[in-house]
């Protein structure tokens, strides 16, 4: 097994909660109600917690003085392999919650499988994370229904967000070379096999929410190969600010 493939594989998992957590972190104190504010912060906390577990493990694999922070903060944009979905902006709460929902359903399915990984570290992380993500999924699904089937205004906003973010869902089921290598080893999850169940779950909840399922078959991709939308550079310039400005210090 190539050490590099395992390392890349872990980053491909962990960059998603990292960047999604970062997006949620922007909202802290600015949510539509105290309760949603607390819930979104809670999700961010879970996501960063998971990120740390993955990166601590990745740092051990990498060696060379790598740390969870060097991995989180000191890569260039092209080296982040999160999916495009998670970097999309908090345009309004409809976008925030739809982004969350479209990721959560995937995330849960993914962790279910990762629990069965031959890699005991990954399996253990997945085992712990899935409990958290089960809550995330419930939270975001409930809000999808509440807002989809709330007022005319909320329905319009939700449909707009769903239509806009839909194009980023297909990428969740793409694989990189490292992914394929890890799948072959019984370590990685074959996400291609999750696609049908993902869309059937998503569609069920959108139907419950009386939202239309987008018909577009055009999708975006690139994140898994480090090709991001123009939003990513701004996320990183904030996120990396301290580590870049004051290198090699302990915080």
């Amino acid at each position: 097994m190539e050490k590099k493939d395992l390392y890349n594989y872990i980053l491909g998992i962990a960059d998603n909660p990292l960047i999604l957590g970062q997006r949620l972190g922007e909202l802290c104190g600015h949510g539509p109600s105290l309760e949603t504010d607390i819930a979104c912060t809670n999700i961010a906390l879970d996501l960063f917690g998971q990120t740390r577990s993955y990166f601590q493990y990745a740092a051990k694999i990498k060696g060379e003085n790598a740390t969870e922070d060097s991995i989180a903060f000191l890569r260039t944009e092209r080296e982040y392999t999160n999916v495009l979905l998670v970097e999309q902006p908090n345009t309004d709460f409809a976008f925030t919650i739809t982004r969350q929902f479209l990721f959560d359903v995937y995330h849960y399915l993914f962790l279910e499988q990762l629990q069965k990984s031959k890699d005991v570290n990954l399996s253990a992380i997945a085992h712990k994370a899935i409990k958290e993500v089960s809550y995330h999924q419930r939270f975001s699904s409930d809000w999808i229904k509440r807002l989809g089937d709330g007022t005319d205004e909320s329905k319009k906003r939700m449909q707009n967000a769903v239509n806009d973010l839909w194009r980023y869902t297909d990428e969740l089921f793409h694989t990189t070379e490292s992914d394929e290598a890890m799948i072959a080893e019984g370590i990685g999850v074959d996400v291609k096999k999750l696609k049908n169940i993902y869309y059937s779950r998503i569609n069920k909840i959108l139907e419950d929410a009386r939202l239309e399922i987008p018909e577009s078959k055009w999708f975006q991709k690139g994140g898994k190969h480090g090709l991001h939308t123009e939003y990513m550079g701004y996320i990183l310039s904030e996120m990396q600010y301290m580590q870049r400005t004051y290198p090699n210090m302990t915080w």
Binding site: L34, D37, T41, F93, R146, L147, G150, E238, W251
Partner: protein, 318 residues
């Protein structure tokens, strides 16, 4: 009720408080007691909510994952404090919407300290250490205040605040023990937050209103100046321990008083900020009002959905 009856109720009420019994929402209470508590508890709740903003400003830029998680957790705790303080306040017969409205229209106050900007990462340490430190000194006595829901909320708040305070101090210690740039950052933050922290205890006793009444109701046990002195005496050695200098040339140990003497506070600055002209008053209010206004459609939708669900269930029940 006759005037005599009311006087009687009031006497019983005061007696209960004197005996350290808790007043509960369903109990009779004088209107002034109710109003004072609404004012103070909501002001406290507002402070928690507005207080999320200066710290929230550094979540996306926290220098390590560990610190990012801790900061998020801290800001979340503040939201939680806000939540149970608003709940305590609601038991007095005022709705959360009314309370928000008072905040957004400037009728209600919140702690002025949050009208200062967080300029560097060290400010996050300084807020935890100094601002939460000062808050605890103000709040610990409230764990025994007479109004039950407030006292119980404060027990939980104080426990968490004291954790935040230690965490903030640890950030400062790490910086003070770090590179020269880090130490400078820490000292700079202390320089900027020291005096506003002293102002958190309010005007000098000579100018303070409400004190006598608040003492009786156990909303206050010590005067502003006594609490301020306690804060100085507690904090100065902490600064020394990590090699930071309190920005006060007049500061010195008074062996007679067994306490620190300290320099005069710039009350002009205090009143400027209280009156709404601090560095960030406008930005803080804009942030809160925007969050509220932008969230209106979400709250409306949640209500509409709940109504629909109720209707649906009642139809099923038929």
């Amino acid at each position: 009720m006759s005037e005599d009856q009311i006087k009687n109720l009031e006497a019983q009420f005061e007696a209960r408080i004197a005996r350290d019994e808790k007043i509960e929402p369903k109990d009779w209470m004088p209107e002034k007691y109710r109003q004072t508590h609404i004012r103070q508890i909501s002001q406290h709740a507002h402070s928690e909510i507005v207080g999320m903003l200066p710290e929230g400003n550094w979540i996306t830029r926290a220098p390590s994952l560990r610190r990012k998680v801790a900061l998020l957790a801290k800001v979340q705790d503040e939201a939680g404090h806000g939540l149970y303080l608003y709940s305590a306040c609601e038991t007095l017969g005022v709705s959360r919407e009314e309370l928000y409205d008072q905040l957004h229209t400037g009728k209600a106050k919140y702690s002025s300290i949050f009208n200062y900007p967080t300029i560097t990462w060290a400010d996050i340490g300084a807020i935890g250490w100094l601002v939460d430190g000062a808050a605890i000194i103000n709040q610990v006595p409230l764990c025994n205040t007479s109004f039950g829901p407030y006292a119980r909320a404060m027990i939980r708040v104080c426990k968490e605040e004291s954790f935040h305070q230690r965490q903030g101090y640890e950030i400062m210690m790490t910086l003070a023990n770090g590179t020269p740039e880090q130490k400078e950052m820490a000292q700079d933050a202390l320089n900027r937050w020291w005096w506003p922290s002293l102002m958190m205890f309010g005007p000098t006793d000579a100018e303070s209103v409400h004190t006598a009444q608040s003492m009786k109701w156990k909303l206050k046990r010590k005067t502003n100046d006594e609490l301020r002195q306690q804060f100085v005496d507690q904090t100065v050695p902490q600064a020394e321990l990590i090699g930071l200098t309190i920005p006060d040339d007049d500061l010195k140990w008074n062996d007679k008083r067994k306490s620190y003497d300290f320099g005069p506070i710039d009350w002009d600055e205090f009143w400027q900020v209280v009156k709404g002209h601090g560095p960030m008053n406008k930005e803080r209010m804009n942030a809160r009002v925007s969050a509220w206004e932008n969230g209106e459609w979400v709250r409306d939708a949640a209500v509409a959905y709940a109504d629909k669900q109720k209707e649906y269930k009642s139809k099923q029940a038929v």
